[in-house]
C-alpha cells in the first residue's frame, strides 16, 4: 500500500510541477493546486498510514499520528489562501497587462482571439 501511495504522491507532484512550468497563469494555478495536494499527502504520510484508528482518544487502542494531521490541516487552509491569492494576482496581471502569460506578453504572436 505504501508503494502505491508513494507513486500517487510522486505522480501528482510531477503533474503539478509540469503544469506550473507552463506559460499561462490559469494552468499555473491548477498546477499549484495539484502540487499542494501532493505536498499535503506527503506531509500526512510522514506519520505513517493507519487505518481505522483516528487520533481521537478512547475511540480505539492505537491512534494515528496526530501531529502531521494538525500540520496538514492548517496547510490546507493556508494553501487555499495561497491559491486564491495566486489566481487573483493572475487576474490582475491579465487586467493590467492584457495577457494571461506569466511573462506579461505572449512569446510568439500577440493574443488575437482572447482580447475582446
Amino acid at each position: 500500500m505504501e508503494l502505491v501511495y508513494a507513486i500517487c504522491v510522486g505522480f501528482m507532484s510531477t503533474c503539478g510541477i509540469f503544469l506550473m512550468l507552463r506559460g499561462h497563469t490559469f494552468t499555473l494555478v491548477i498546477g499549484l493546486t495539484l502540487l499542494s495536494y501532493a505536498v499535503n499527502l506527503f506531509l500526512f504520510a510522514s506519520g505513517g498510514l493507519t487505518i481505522g484508528a483516528p487520533a481521537v482518544l478512547s475511540s480505539s487502542e492505537n491512534h494515528a499520528d496526530p501531529l502531521p494531521q494538525a500540520l496538514v490541516l492548517t496547510a490546507i487552509v493556508i494553501g487555499f489562501a495561497m491559491t486564491a491569492f495566486a489566481v487573483i494576482l493572475a487576474m490582475r496581471g491579465r487586467a493590467d497587462l492584457g495577457s494571461d502569460h506569466v511573462d506579461g506578453i505572449e512569446p510568439f504572436d500577440p493574443l488575437a482571439e482572447d482580447k475582446s
Partner: protein, 931 residues
Amino acid sequence: MHYFWVPFLPMLGIIVPLFANKLNRSACTLATALLPALALCFIFLDLPAVLAGESFSKSIEWIPQLGLALSFRLDGLAALFSILILGIGLLVILYARYYLSEKDHMGRFYCYLIMFMAAMLGIVMSNNMLQLWFYWELTSISSFLLIGFWSHNSDARKGARMALTITGAGGLALLAGIILLGQVVGSYELDVVLNSGELVKQSPYYIAILSLFLIGAFTKSAQFPFHFWLPHAMAAPTPVSAYLHSATMVKAGIFLLARFYPVLAGTETWFVVVSLTGLFTMLLGAYTALFKHDLKGLLAYSTISHLGLIVLLLGLNTELAAIAAIFHIMNHAVFKASLFMAAGIIDHESGSRDMRKINGLWKYMPITATLAMVASASMAGVPLLNGFLSKEMFFAETLEQSILGSMSWLIPVLATIAAAFSVAYSLRFIHDVFFNGEPKGLTKTPHEPPRYMRVPVEILVTICLLVGIFPNYTIGPLLQSTSLAVLNHTLPEYSLAIWHGLNLPLLMSGVAIMGGVAIYLNRKHLFKFAGMFPDIDAKLVFEDCIQACVTWAQKITMILENGSLQRYAFCLCFFALLLIAPPLFELDTTRGSLPGTPLNAAVLVAAILIIAGSLATIIWSHYRLIALLMLSLVGLVVSITFAYFSAPDLALTQLSVEIVTVILLLLALYFFPQQTPTSKSRPSHFVRDLTVASFIGCIIGSICFALMTHPLDSISAFFLANAKTGGGGTNVVNVILVDFRGFDTFGEITVLGIAALGIHKLIARMRLSVRTKDYAGRLWAKDKYPVLLSVVSQSLLPLFLLISAYIFMRGHNLPGGGFIAGLITSIALIQQYLAHGVDWMAKRVSVSYHYMIAIGLTIAGLTGLGSWIFDRPFLTSWFEYVSLPWIGKFELASALVFDIGVYFTVIGATLLILASLGKLTTTERLTVGER
C-alpha cells in the same frame, strides 16, 4: 589619553563647513580649521609619552563575536602620520582659502576635505583591522569626491572615477586579506596581530594574505602596474593634490606596509615582490616625470617615483632600510606638499601649468620662485635639505643588498640612475618655470600671490631647511619612536648626520647630481627620443576596459535574467532538483525495515482515480474548464484518502476547502480565456519541463516511500498522552491546533487574514472585460439565479448553520473545530451568493468581512493575552467541567474561545475573497450588457 578623541574631532568637523559656509570666506576657513587644530593639540599633548617609547590603545567592544570594536591606538607611527595629516591638512585649509574662486562652493570643498582628513586619521589610528578597512574605504570615497570636485569638468569626473575604481578594488582585496589574516591570528585587534608575525609567516595562507595586502597597498600608493590613476587625479583642485598626493592618500598604502611590517615582512617573497615593484615604479616615475609638460603632471610622476623609492626601502631586508623609508615618508610629504602648493600658486597667478608657456617667472614672483627652488632642491636631494638626508640613507641601504644574488650591484646602480632623473626633473621644474626666457602666450601677467597663500609654502620650506640642517634636534626623536613602532623591537644603530665622511653613498649622490645636470642639458635629444613612442592615454584604455566589463556583465545578466518568469520557475525547479537529489544517493535502499500494509481494492481504485485525474488534468489542460473538473476529482479522492487513513479532521477540511477552491477557480475562469492557446509551447520546452518535473516527482515519491517504511521516533506520543489531561480534549488534532501549537495557529489565521485583505486590494479597481459567449460560441445562460437553486439553498441555510455549530462545539473532543465549522458556514453563505447574487446578499448581510477578520483575530489574540492576567505564558489554556441543571455536565475551555476566533477569521477571509470576486462578475457583467 587625549588621543582617543583625535579621530572623532574631524568626524565632527565634517559638518562645520556646511554651516560656516554662510559666513565670509575667512571665517569659514577659521571655523573649519578649529577642530583639526584642536585634534593636533591633543596629539602634541600625548606626544612626549609616545616619544618616550610608549604606545597607547583603547577599545570599546561593539560586536565581539565578529571581532568588531571601536578601537584606537597611538604609537610612533600613528603619531607621525597624524601630525602629517593634521599639520599639512591645516596648511591646505589655509591655502585653499585663497586658491578657491568665488564660484567654487567653499563649504562643500572643506566638508570633503575634512571627511578625508577624518578617514586618514582613522586609518593611522585604528587598532582594529576591520575598522581600519572601513576608514580605508572612506578615503577612497572622499578622495573620489575631492578629485571630482570640479564636476563640470569631464577630466575631473573621469579621473575621479578611475581613482575610485582602482583604489576601491584594491580596498576589496585588502578586506579579503584582513579577513584571512584575522582568521589565521584569531583576532582583528592590531595589538594581537602585530605580535603574531611568526604565526602568520608559517601559515599556509601567508602568500594569499601578502598578495591581497600588497594589492591593497600598491593600488592606493600608485605602484606599478596600478600607478596610472595618479596622474589623472591631477584634475583635482591643487590643494587636493597637495594634500592627497603628497602627504596622505598615497601614503596610506605605504602606511599599510609599514604598519604590517612586523607581521608580513621578513620573508623572501616580501623582499622580492616589494623591492622590485618599488624599484621599477621609481625608475618609471622618474623617467616619465621628465617629459611631462604639465607642472602637476611632472609632480605626479615624481610622486610615483618617490613612492616607489619608499616601497623599495620597505622591501629591502635590513631594518635600517625601514627607518630610511619612514624618514623619507616625512621628507617627501613636506617638500612635495610645498611643491604642489607652489605649482598651484603659479597656475593661479599666471593662468597656466604648461611649462612650454610659463618661463622666466623669477621676475614676476621672486619669493614664490625661491621657495619652490628650495623645495625642488630638496626633492633632488641637494645637501643641507631634508631630501638629501633620506636619500643618503637610501643609497647606503641599496649597497647592502643581496636579494638579486650576484646581480645585486644592479640595485644601487639603478637607484643612482633614478636619482639622476629625479635631479633632472627637479632642475627642469626650476629652470623651465623660473628662467629660460620669457612667458609665452599667457592670458594674464603673473604676479605674487596674496600674502597668506604663501604662508603654508613658507612653513613647509622652513621645515625642509630645519630638518636638513639640524636633523637630530628636529626630527630625531619622532623618527626613533616611529621606527620602534614599525620594527616592533629594539632599534639598530643609525645616525642622522649631514656629513658621514667621504663614502660610497656620498659618491652616489654626487654622481646623481652630475648625471641629472647632464641629462637636463641634453634634454632636447631625450625629448626627441621620447617623442618617438606612441602616447598611450591610460584614460582611454581604462574606459575601454570598463566598457568591456559592462558589456560582458550585461551579456551574463541577459543569460541569467532575461525577464521570463517561466524560465525562472524552471531554474528554480532545476536547482531544487540538484540540491535534493545528492543526499538521496547516500541512502542505501528506499524500502525501510517497517512491514508494509497490505494493499486492498479500495486503495487501488483510489490510486487509479488519482493518477487518471492528474493525467487528465495535464492532457486537457488546454480546455481549462475540463482541467478544473479533473482537478476537483483529484481533490475529492484526496479527501477520501484522508478519511480512509484515520484523519477525519483532514477529510472534512479538505472537502470543504475543495468546494471553496473550485467555486473560486470557476469564478476566476469567467475572466480568463476558456482555452489555453495550443501552438505557443515550444516542443523543446515541453520535453525539458517534463523531464525536470518527472525527476522531482520521482524524488518526492522516493522520499515519501522511504519516510513511510523507515522507523520514525516522533514526538506525537507526548500529544497523545497529554491531550486529555493538559488540554482537556480527546480530539488530539484539534487540541494541538488550539492548545499545544496555538501560537502557530494564531500565526496561520493571521496569514489567512492578510492574504484575504491583499486579494481584496488586488481586486479593487481591477478592470477586466469578459466575453458574452463561451469558447464554443454559446451565450451564457440567461437564467442568472435559477429558482430551484434559490429555494433549495435558502431552505438549506439553517441546516448548514446548525451543522457548523455542531461541528464547532464537538471539535474539542470529536472531529471538527473552528477551521472546519468556519469553512462550512462559508460554503453555506457562498451558496446564497450563488443563488441570489451579490446585491441580494448585500441587503441582508450587513456585516463587513474585513471586520469579521479583525474580530476573529482580536478574539484569538485576546484569549492568548488573557493568560497573562494569571501570570501564565501567552496562550496558556484553561478548562473546567461545570454542571448546570437540565443541561448536565459540560466543559468550559479557553481553547474554545480561541477556536471562535479561528472560526470568524476563516469565515471573514473566505467570504472576503469570494464576495469581492463575485461582486466583480456582477459589475462587469452589467457593463458588458450595456455595451
